[in-house]
Subunit: 153 residues, 2 copies
DNA sequence: TATTGACTTTGAGTATACTCAAAGTAGTAT
DNA sequence: ATACTACTTTGAGTATACTCAAAGTCAATA
């Protein structure tokens, strides 16, 4: 039988956890209150965040960045805590969310293209005097020619 | 002197405008109330949206999609209505926002990569039984090898 | 022992972006 | 004339995600 030689895991105060994760202490308390984070230890009534807690918070930031709501994140974490038997469910949830992220990226690209055209329009107008929008097609054609970009609308 | 042969511009009811723009009538009213949209005509107290109004709303949707707040969009539209002398200001605002969109895209790509790794992890675990996270480096190396993707964390 | 500082809880408040309900009006169709 | 439809306004309500203030607790340092 192997001897358990693991070090006692380092624990972090809420202020430390806040510093590490980039959330405020208030926000971390809020997340715990809402049941999104759970299993945070207490010592003298004070929260002690484990490495595992911090990893969970790290995952939360990734989820958030892709536009996942706290409600969905909470669901995911709940599945996580239910152990291996929820693997398939978690996978389904992630796949669903991946689609959503891809949709977001397409939208963002479309908007960025629109923005780039607008900026070119303003730049060129400042150089040459206001360009007419009367022949929008021609304007777009010129934009594509001059910038080598593809754009249609 | 040229005769003005322009057709009287077609006007649209709020319901039509809603259908065309994809917003609800309530939302369009809200935007007008907030001073984001302005210059909407009235006939018998009813809103009549011009083509120009609809174009403005279209622009609003693009702005929104890139995560611009209604407050910022309102500012941009206000500059717009002040005429050509605000060209430079509008350009500055758009450039600023373009940076923000690029930042968003980088974030989204990072999150998507994270998500893709997670999904691969779950898929592979379902096939082979739970993969250990003990040697995270090796796991990531395997992921990159098998998918041909680049990933680091 | 007293003070300091880092925490705690409870409950309320804020910002953003809508969303809805209720009561009223104006023009059209039967 | 009456009903119907498509609007109108006012004011309140909702969801999300925090954010803050006030009063209290606990352990360590001066």
């Amino acid at each position: 039988m192997k001897t358990d030689i693991r070090q006692a895991e380092r624990l972090y105060s809420i202020t430390e956890a806040a510093k590490i994760t980039g959330f405020t202490a208030e926000t971390l308390r809020f997340y715990e209150r809402e049941g999104i984070l759970s299993g945070v230890l207490r010592q003298d009534g004070r929260r002690r965040f484990s490495e595992a807690n911090l990893r969970e918070i790290q995952i939360l930031t990734y989820m958030k960045k892709t536009g996942m709501s706290l409600k969905e994140i909470k669901q995911y974490f709940a599945l996580f805590r239910q152990g291996e038997r929820t693997f398939a469910k978690r996978l389904a949830l992630l796949r669903e969310h991946e689609k959503e992220v891809q949709r977001q990226m397409r939208e963002l690209e479309r908007s960025a293209a629109h923005l780039a055209f607008k900026i070119w329009y303003y730049e060129t107008s400042l150089k040459e005097g206001a360009l007419s929008f009367d022949d929008r097609e021609a304007l777009i054609a010129r934009y594509c020619r001059e910038t080598g970009r593809i754009y249609s609308m």
